[in-house]
C-alpha cells in the first residue's frame, strides 16, 4: 500500500475483465441497448440534465447520520458533497478529497493528506478540521448514525497539519481507507448543525430542494475536478411509480432513470433513443437462517435448505435474466479477493434428501418469512422456492409479513426470512458487518470463534497472497457451512436517453455508483 496518483488513462486488467464480462452479458441478450452507446466518446460540457429517481421520500434528510434513501446518498457522491476517497468501477480506491493515504508499519495508524485548494460552496477552504468534524459526526457513544458501528474501530483522529490528519485504530486494518469512501460520510464544513442546505464541495451547488419532490443544482464553477460534473444543471425528480418513470424517459421528460421495471426493461431498451444500462452488480439477496434457533443450528439441515432452491430459475423469473445465481457467498465476483473458484451450488433434490436424513429433521417444516418491501418480487421468490423445495422433499411454508416494521419485527427475529445488501467494497467490510460475533447486522447469528479469528487475522495481514488464502478459506466456510442462503445476485439496471454518454459503469450501487450526475455527460 502506498501513495496513489490519479490514474485516469489506461485500462487496468480488472477494468478490461469487467468490460468483457459486461460484453458477454450483453451479447447473450439480443436487442439489448448496452452498445448503442460507444464507450469512450469524448465527454462534453453543458446541458440541463433531468433524472427520474425511484427511492426518495418526503422524509429525506441531508444529515449524513440519518441518510435513508438513494437520493440522500447520491448527494454525497460528487453531487453536492464528496466522500474522502472514490471507489472506482473496479472496486479500487482513487483520490478524491484525500490525495494520499498510507499506513504506518502494522496498519494500525493511517496517515491522510487532503487535497489543497478545495473550496466549499460558501467559499471556505476545506481543511483537516472539516475532515475530522465530518468523520466525528458518526463517532462517540450515543451516536445516532447508521454507520456508527463502521467507524467504531477508530480510536483517535489527530490533526497533523492544516491539510493532514492521522487516524489511530483499535486494531490493525489493511483495508481501513475504504471506509472513507462511504456514501454516508461526505465532507461537510466544520461545526455544521443544519445539514439541510446541502453545503459541500461537490460538482453542483444545491439551489432548490424539497424532500421527496425535487432537487435542483447548478454546476459549481470552482469544482476541484476538471474532468467531472459535465452538466450545467442537474434536476432530480422523485418518481416512485415505475410507470411514471418509464413514461417520463420514453417521452423525453427526463434523461436518466433508475430501476426500470425488469419485466419491461428489454422492451424499453428496444425503443429508439433509449439505452438500458445493465451492469453486473452487488445487489445481494440473502435469506438468513438464525443459527441460535432450532433446527438451523444443524449444519446438515442448513445444507438441505441450500440445495433446495433452483437458483437458475429464480434468476430467469424473478430477475428476468438481469443477474447471476448466488453461491451462498456474500462477496460479488468483482470484489477483490472474491472466491470465484468455488464451484456454483446447484439445485439438487438428492442432496436435499441426503442432508435432511442426516440432520434427523425429516418432518420439520421450514417457515420462510417474507414481505414485498424487502425487494420487488421477494414474495414471489419464496413461492417459487416452496415449489422447488417441496419437489425435493423439504416441507416449506411461506409466511407473508407486513411491510411496516419488517426490519424491526421480522429481520433478525424470525428464524428464516428474506433480506438484501448492496455489497460493501471489501471482503473485510462485508464479513465484519454481517458475519462476526457481536456485529450489529449479523442477520443469521453466525457466531463462530474460529471464523472471527480468521477475519481478524486477514484484516491485519499486509501480504497479498496470505490475505487471499485466508479470504478464500473464509468464503469456503460460508459456502459449505454458512447460515445464509444467497440464491441470486442482481445486476444494476438503469435506463438513459441515448444522448447521454458515459464510460464503463460501476455496479456496486445503482446509477454508476450513485455518481451518474458527476460522471455522465450529454453527447451533443
Amino acid at each position: 500500500m502506498c501513495v496513489m496518483e490519479d490514474n485516469k488513462s489506461g485500462l487496468t486488467r480488472r477494468q478490461f475483465m469487467a468490460g468483457t464480462i459486461a460484453a458477454g452479458v450483453a451479447a447473450s441478450i439480443p436487442g439489448q441497448g448496452l452498445f448503442k452507446n460507444a464507450w469512450g466518446s469524448t465527454p462534453k460540457r453543458g446541458g440541463a440534465m433531468k433524472l427520474g429517481l425511484a427511492g426518495g421520500s418526503t422524509t429525506d434528510s441531508l444529515d449524513p447520520a440519518t441518510f435513508s434513501e438513494v437520493f440522500d446518498q447520491m448527494s454525497t457522491m460528487g453531487l453536492y458533497r464528496n466522500p474522502f476517497l472514490e471507489l472506482n468501477r473496479s472496486g479500487e480506491l482513487e483520490p478524491e478529497l484525500v490525495t494520499e493515504w498510507s499506513p504506518e508499519p502494522g496498519a494500525k495508524v493511517w496517515n491522510f493528506k487532503l487535497r489543497k485548494g478545495v473550496e466549499f460552496h460558501n467559499g471556505k477552504t476545506m481543511d483537516a478540521d472539516d475532515a475530522i468534524f465530518s468523520i466525528n459526526h458518526h463517532r462517540g457513544d450515543d451516536n445516532k448514525s447508521q454507520i456508527a458501528s463502521v467507524v467504531k474501530p477508530i480510536k483517535e483522529i489527530i490533526k497533523t497539519g492544516k491539510f493532514e490528519f492521522k487516524i489511530i485504530l483499535e486494531e490493525p486494518s489493511a483495508d481501513f481507507p475504504y471506509i472513507l469512501s462511504s456514501t454516508r460520510m461526505p465532507c461537510v464544513p466544520n461545526g455544521t448543525t443544519n445539514f439541510e442546505d446541502g453545503m459541500g464541495t461537490g460538482g453542483y451547488i444545491l439551489k432548490e430542494w424539497e424532500p421527496g419532490v425535487r432537487a435542483y443544482g447548478e454546476r459549481n464553477p470552482n469544482y476541484f475536478k476538471e474532468d467531472r460534473a459535465y452538466f450545467d444543471s442537474v434536476e432530480i425528480i422523485t418518481m416512485i411509480d415505475d410507470t411514471a418513470r418509464t413514461t417520463a424517459i420514453k417521452t423525453g421528460q427526463v434523461d436518466i432513470i433508475n430501476r426500470p421495471d425488469r419485466k419491461t426493461a428489454r422492451l424499453l431498451g428496444r425503443m429508439k433513443g433509449i439505452q438500458i444500462i445493465d451492469t453486473p452488480g452487488g445487489l445481494t439477496y440473502t435469506f438468513p437462517m438464525r443459527m441460535d434457533q432450532k433446527p438451523y443450528d444443524n449444519v446438515d439441515f442448513r445444507r438441505a435448505v441450500k440445495y433446495s432452491v433452483d437458483r437458475e430459475s429464480l434468476v430467469k423469473t424473478i430477475l428476468q435474466g438481469y443477474g447471476v445465481p448466488g453461491n451462498d457467498i456474500p462477496v460479488p465476483s468483482y470484489v477483490k479477493y472474491a472466491a470465484n473458484a468455488i464451484p456454483q451450488r446447484m439445485y439438487d433434490p438428492d442432496k436435499v434428501k441426503f442432508h435432511l436424513k442426516k440432520s434427523g429433521y425429516q418432518d420439520e417444516t421450514v417457515r420462510l418469512h417474507v414481505a414485498d418491501m424487502v425487494y420487488n418480487g421477494a414474495v414471489d421468490t419464496a413461492q417459487l422456492w416452496k415449489e422447488h423445495a417441496t419437489k425435493a422433499g423439504l416441507k416449506m411454508e411461506v409466511v407473508k409479513e407486513a411491510n411496516d416494521g419488517y426490519w424491526a419485527k421480522v429481520w433478525r427475529v424470525k428464524p428464516f426470512c428474506a433480506s438484501f445488501w448492496f455489497a460493501r467494497p471489501t471482503v473485510d467490510w462485508i464479513l465484519s458487518m454481517t458475519y462476526v460475533t457481536g456485529a450489529s447486522s449479523n442477520e443469521s447469528a453466525w457466531e463462530v470463534p474460529h471464523f472471527d479469528k480468521l477475519v481478524k487475522e486477514a484484516r491485519a495481514e499486509l501480504n497479498e497472497d496470505k490475505r487471499r488464502a485466508i479470504y478464500f478459506e473464509l468464503q469456503r466456510i460460508l459456502h459449505d457451512d454458512g447460515s445464509v442462503v444467497i440464491p441470486m445476485i442482481a445486476n444494476i439496471v438503469d435506463a438513459a436517453s441515448d444522448k447521454i454518454g458515459f464510460n464503463p459503469v460501476a455496479g456496486n450501487v445503482e446509477l454508476d455508483g450513485f455518481r451518474a450526475c458527476e460522471r455522465w455527460w450529454f453527447k451533443s
Binding site: K144, G212, R214, G405
Partner: protein, 318 residues
C-alpha cells in the same frame, strides 16, 4: 334564516370535539403500529446504541402520554412542531402541498361538477334514449376502473401517442399560468372521469324521481316545455341530494387522490401523508390527518347549510 347561525356555531363546537378525538385516535393508532421513526430511518442499519441515541434526540424515549400532552400544548398555541425525520417545520412542509392539493381538487371540481350536472340533466331529459345509455355506460365504465388505470390510459393516449401534455405534473416555483394549466390537464381529467359518474347518476336519478311527482304532471298539462320543467320545476327540488353527493365527491378530491398524485408525480398532501405514516412521523401525520378531518367537517357543514337554504320547508320552519 336566523336559525342558521346557532346551527353553525353548535356544529363548530362539536367539530373541535371531533378533531380532538381524531388526534387522539391518530396518535394511538401510530403508536400501535410496529416500529417507530428511529427504526424506520435507520432501517437495516439500526443497532441498540444508535437507536437509543436517535430516540433520545427525537424525544421518543418519553412516555406516550407525555408526548401527546406536549404536542397538544404546542398545537393549542398554533405551533405544529417539526417533522421527526428531517427536522423541518411541519407548517412549512404542509403549507404549499395543501395549496397544490386544493388547486388540483378545485380544478377537477370546476370541470366535473358543472359537467356532471349538465349531463345528468340531459340524461333525465332524454331518459332511456341512446344518448342516455351511452353517457351512463361510458361514465360508469370510467368509475369502475381503478384511478391509476384511467391515468395510465390517458398517459398512453395524450402523452405517448399524441405528445400533447406532459405526464410529469411537477409544479415548480416561477411557472406561468399557461404552464400550470398545461401540467394540470391530465391529473384533472383523470379525477373528473373518476368522480363524474357518481354525481351524474345521482342528478339523473333525483330529477327522474321528481319528474314523477303530481306537480310536474300539472306543469306538463299546463303545456310547459320539457327542458323548462326540468330546469325550473324539477331541479330546485332535487338540489338537496345532489348537493350532498357533490360535497362528498369534493371531500374525496381533497383527501383521496394519493394514487393520482403518485402516477403524475404531483406534489400534494397525499404522498406526504403516506410517506409520513411509513416513517411514523407523528407530527406530520397528525397535522395532515387534522387537515383532512377539517375538510370533511367543513364540507359536511356546508352541505347541510346549502340543503337547508335550498329547501323552503327547512328554510321556513313552522
Amino acid at each position: 334564516m336566523d336559525f342558521l347561525l346557532p346551527l353553525i356555531l353548535k356544529r363548530t363546537g362539536f367539530a373541535f370535539l371531533t378533531l380532538f378525538t381524531i388526534s387522539l385516535l391518530i396518535f394511538v393508532g401510530l403508536e400501535a403500529l410496529p416500529g417507530d421513526t428511529a427504526q424506520a430511518i435507520l432501517g437495516q442499519g439500526a443497532t441498540e446504541e444508535n437507536l437509543a441515541a436517535l430516540r433520545k434526540e427525537m424525544k421518543l424515549d418519553l412516555p406516550v402520554h407525555t408526548r401527546y400532552v406536549s404536542w397538544l400544548k404546542d398545537i393549542s398555541h398554533g405551533d405544529l412542531g417539526n417533522s421527526l425525520s428531517n427536522g423541518r417545520p411541519v407548517s412549512e412542509m404542509i403549507g404549499w402541498r395543501f395549496q397544490n392539493t386544493l388547486l388540483l381538487a378545485f380544478s377537477a371540481a370546476m370541470v366535473s361538477i358543472p359537467l356532471a350536472i349538465i349531463l345528468g340533466l340531459v340524461c333525465a331529459l332524454y331518459q332511456n334514449s341512446w344518448l342516455d345509455r351511452i353517457l351512463s355506460t361510458s361514465t360508469l365504465s370510467a368509475i369502475s376502473f381503478p384511478e391509476f388505470f384511467v391515468a395510465y390510459i390517458l398517459i398512453l393516449v395524450f402523452v405517448v401517442q399524441f405528445e400533447m401534455f406532459p405526464s410529469v405534473a411537477l409544479l415548480k416555483p416561477g411557472m406561468g399560468m399557461m404552464e400550470i394549466v398545461n401540467v394540470l390537464v391530465l391529473p384533472c381529467l383523470t379525477l373528473t372521469l373518476v368522480v363524474l359518474a357518481h354525481m351524474m347518476r345521482m342528478t339523473r336519478a333525483t330529477i327522474i324521481g321528481v319528474l314523477s311527482s303530481p306537480y310536474i304532471e300539472m306543469a306538463q298539462l299546463k303545456g310547459v316545455r320539457k327542458h323548462k320543467i326540468i330546469l325550473y320545476h324539477a331541479l330546485p327540488n332535487a338540489l338537496g341530494p345532489i348537493i350532498n353527493v357533490v360535497v362528498m365527491d369534493l371531500a374525496w378530491l381533497v383527501v383521496g387522490v394519493v394514487v393520482v398524485e403518485v402516477v403524475f408525480v404531483y406534489p400534494g398532501l397525499g404522498q406526504l401523508l403516506v410517506d409520513s405514516v411509513s416513517k411514523r412521523d407523528i407530527p406530520v401525520v397528525q397535522t395532515s390527518g387534522l387537515i383532512f378531518a377539517c375538510t370533511y367537517i367543513f364540507l359536511n357543514l356546508t352541505a347541510d347549510v346549502l340543503s337547508i337554504i335550498s329547501n323552503p320547508r327547512l328554510r321556513h320552519p313552522k
